[in-house]
Subunit: 229 residues, 2 copies
């Protein structure tokens, strides 16, 4: 049975990659910068995103798609920022894929947006395999999760463009070893850019927002990609 599963899985991933490539071209043509946030459940994606959506407005036009197995709690919470937000509920599926994004964006005009954030399903395994056509994949690691997570879930950390160490206001209470976390991130993904934030106290948020603006400007100056990377 094993070879058949592998074959089906490769078919699914190939189909996703083709659609992700189309999405990436549409995003680039519309001038919208797309960020895919991935992490464990409870690492603070929604809190970070809420602060990010508030911080980028009104200067920038922002929106978010939020993936969860069940409930539209995150969309309700994020909607209070004033940004356009849509929930994607995946049922029993442990990740978002390009087809889900494509369907959720069907009646949105991407030209109206500067930034689109995608909050993936909380999971350190499945989302690693699905390209969503994003410009930036940011992986969150909260100080309460343990410094060893990059070593134990190498694929998702290796596939990320940037790591955010979150909940840094809890670092001392949690006994967080910052050096060890940075070493582990660098072991799995040498030279990965790391930002440290607390959505609760606001520490590090201004620098994170400025970095996003800078990345978006760089992306708009670059030529549109001919094919998915």
């Amino acid at each position: 049975m094993q070879p058949r599963i592998v074959e089906v899985r490769q078919g699914v991933l190939k189909k996703n990659d083709l659609l992700a490539r189309e999405l990436r071209q549409r995003f680039r043509a519309a001038g919208v910068y797309v960020v895919n946030l991935v992490s464990s459940p409870g690492a603070g994606k929604t809190a970070l995103l809420e602060a990010t959506l508030r911080g980028l407005q009104p200067e920038h036009r922002v929106a978010a798609l939020v993936g969860d197995l069940a409930t539209d709690r995150d969309a309700q919470r994020l909607g209070r920022s004033g940004a356009r937000v849509r929930q994607i509920t995946t049922g029993t599926v442990c990740h978002l894929d390009a087809e889900m994004l494509d369907a959720a964006l069907a009646d949105w005009d991407l030209e109206d947006l500067d930034f689109l954030f995608v909050e993936n399903v909380g999971n350190l395994v499945c989302p690693a395999s699905y390209d969503l056509g994003e410009d930036l994949r940011a992986v969150l690691l909260s100080v309460t999760e343990g410094e060893d997570k990059p070593l134990k879930y190498p694929t998702i950390f290796n596939g990320a463009d940037l790591a955010l160490i979150t909940k840094i206001d809890l670092a001392e209470a949690a006994g967080f070893d910052r050096e060890e976390a940075l070493n582990n991130l660098n072991e799995v993904r040498p030279g990965i850019e790391v930002r440290e934030t607390s959505a609760r106290t606001g520490e590090g948020m201004a620098a994170w927002l400025e970095r996003l603006r800078e990345l978006a400007r760089g992306s708009r100056r670059a030529p549109a990609p001919l094919k998915a990377e």
Copy 2:
């Protein structure tokens, strides 16, 4: 393509259920009580398990199987408790299954054990679908993850026999709303037994160990199951 995937998935799950039933009969015949620990990455499974293995010895004979995508860090850490421990590395697979357990236990004599703990891969989605033949499935929810996790990952909470709220020493620093967490657990799994622990301070650990002993005694008095539940 979709129907073919569903069909393959059902085939995999059915095969797993049959093997889990066999494992359950072997565990029961050997008089070993088996606990499957599931949670997000970083919810504190290893810390709880380390304290549990230490607390049950030398009175009881204990062992653990530990699942991770990569590294044998947890097995090394748990092995320091003096218990027999074996790491299962799953590569890119987001859960343990009955076949992996069966292979890992091949050269172990189950009659030598009173308790066998299985630390699943950190994931709130995939492990829900895989019966491992365990007596007790315990789901961990740490106070730093957010009270809404049971609502957002209902399948794994609904499939658990017992919930452990972990890291309670961090409850105040994290702004944990205990009532809301308990309400959400009860909404998804009415009447679920809840234990609250801190492996760091030891709070709640004695009660948890006593409950495990009690459950194991009850299981040994019960007749062996004729088929998987």
